[in-house]
């Protein structure tokens, strides 16, 4: 019995930086304010990060919202591995963690948080996963980078940076929590 190594298969960090640490910081601050404004405060908001890098992004957003609103909204993580439509096409991998805040998501506004929005398939899987957890009043989507090439009718409500890319390019988001630095790199697919 052979099992593929868990965790993302991330290549070496190479490429041209398109967002530096300060840009990431500014983008998250702006998204935090947009979330507050659009939902008229953050009382009913729950942030659910999509592992791996969506989770620290959700935590950072919650902290910034907390600075403005006085109290940070609850944060959780939503693993979508089991819900992916390409699950039968790749080697099996261990699922990530799903942690829903104790109060659940019923009748709340769930903001899904991910690092890169690409085909839209991860978000479709996240909507399915959310469906099994409860019934939010609304679901919104926040991403640090939107690189285009959608394959499904899905768009983000909050975008840190729109980054028009070609399919030959790669986008890597690096975050201090996982990679010891904050930046977004644009590279060439090898």
């Amino acid at each position: 019995m052979a099992i593929a190594a868990p965790g993302p298969a991330r290549g070496p960090a190479s490429g041209r930086p398109v967002l530096e640490a300060a840009d990431v910081r500014r983008a998250l601050t702006r998204i935090a304010h947009e979330i507050i404004e659009r939902n008229k405060g953050a009382r009913d908001v729950v942030l659910l990060g999509i592992p791996t890098r969506g989770v620290p992004l959700a935590r950072r957003l919650a902290a910034r919202i907390g600075e403005v609103e006085g109290e940070p909204p609850p944060v959780g993580s939503l693993d979508v591995t089991m819900y992916r439509d390409d699950i039968a096409l790749r080697p099996a991998r261990s699922p990530g963690r799903t942690d829903v805040p104790p109060a659940g998501v019923d009748d709340l506004v769930v903001v899904l948080v991910d690092d890169v929005l690409f085909s839209g398939r991860t978000i479709r899987a996240a909507l399915d996963a959310l469906n099994d957890i409860g019934r939010p009043r609304a679901v919104q989507l926040a991403v640090l980078v939107d690189r285009g090439h959608r394959e499904l009718p899905i768009r983000a409500d909050y975008v840190g940076k729109n980054l028009p890319t070609s399919l030959a390019e790669t986008v890597s988001v690096r975050l201090a929590e996982h990679d010891d630095e904050d930046c977004v790199l644009l590279g060439e697919r090898s």
Binding site: M1, A2, I3, S119, T122, T170, S172
Partner: protein
């Protein structure tokens, strides 16, 4: 890539840890209102049981159903097997039905191996107990329970007590626990130890009282009366007296130690009712952990496919 789980010896340390970690994640599903995942939608799992086993069969059945697989229960009794059909012909039938996985329980040691290697079926084969040979998912759920209760397995001392000779549970546990870094001691009367036990990666003792004070885990095995066709010990009473776990004996265990039993129990024979029902006993937990572990095994064996195709990886696969 190997797609079968036939023996606990097939699992590397990384494989075993991946299964236990996945099981831990899947266990959290039990707290949700909808205890189901769409992961194995469209896959067919066949439970092929040549021996009675309600516990293991329902555990595999529920595990497959929680992952949205279609499940066919194929019991030998009352089926074409009782009309004389061979394992090969049954396998060819299952293949024709499009079985993606066959969970097999057989009274003959090695039957799952035959099924996996003879080329009769293309699906995964999961050994759910073969003769006196192995029962790898039982060992995995036992390891899961130990890790859950004690915080880790590495360096822990595990005593497995009773009918080692007829026990596939003991053999699988010795192999897996050794892989995971535990020290295993088999405790049994000499007549209930298999030939060649000296080559197993474990110690052997005939004296339960000497082992208990240094054990983190005591695993009591069922006395398999149905296999006791020779005089392995003088009387049930004598066996109970020397190798049964009762309250006074349990009191000699270290404070953190746990008592395990793969079930079904003979209360009053290898374990007394007060011990079986004590807070140290994990017997009921083992059942629910079995479900999570079997879900993890089915998920890891069946969900993916090689070679990997698909364009993006998760770092940019949004």
């Amino acid at each position: 890539m190997k797609r079968h789980l036939l023996s606990a010896a097939d699992l590397t340390r990384d494989d075993a840890v991946a299964i236990l970690d996945t099981a831990a994640e899947l266990a959290r599903l039990a707290d949700r209102p909808i205890k189901k995942l769409p992961t194995l939608r469209g896959r067919t799992v066949v439970n092929l049981f040549y021996e009675d086993s309600t516990r293991t069969r329902t555990s595999f059945e529920l595990a497959a159903k929680r992952l949205s697989a279609d499940v066919i229960n194929f019991a030998a009794k009352g089926s074409s097997v009782s009309k004389g059909e061979s394992l090969k012909d049954t396998a060819l039938t299952l293949e024709a039905m499009g079985a993606d996985a066959v969970v097999v329980r057989h009274f003959a040691s090695g039957a799952p191996h035959r099924l996996a290697t003879a080329g009769w079926i293309r699906g995964s084969v999961i050994n759910a107990g073969d003769g006196t040979h192995e029962h790898p998912t039982q060992a995995l759920l036992d390891a899961y329970t130990m890790r859950d209760r004690l915080g880790g397995i590495e360096g822990r001392r595990v005593s497995i007590v009773g009918d080692i000779l007829h026990s596939r549970v003991a053999r699988s546990n010795v192999l897996l626990l050794h892989t995971l870094g535990a020290e295993v001691t088999l405790v049994a009367p000499p007549t209930l130890l298999p030939v060649g036990v000296g080559s197993w990666p474990c110690a052997v003792s005939y004296d339960l009282d000497a082992e208990l004070p240094k054990s983190d885990v005591v695993m009591m095995l069922r006395v398999q009366r149905e296999r006791m066709n020779a005089a392995f010990f003088p009387s049930a009473r004598e066996y109970s007296r020397r190798y049964g776990l009762h309250s006074e004996r349990m009191a000699t265990l270290p404070e953190h130690a746990i008592v395990m039993h793969p079930g079904p129990m003979n209360r009053g024979m290898e374990i007394t009712a007060p011990v079986a029902d004590s807070v140290r006993s994990t017997i009921v937990e083992q059942v629910s952990n079995g479900l999570s572990v079997r879900m993890a095994v089915l998920y890891l064996l069946l969900s993916g496919s090689e070679p990997a195709i698909g364009r993006d990886d998760e770092t940019e696969g949004a």
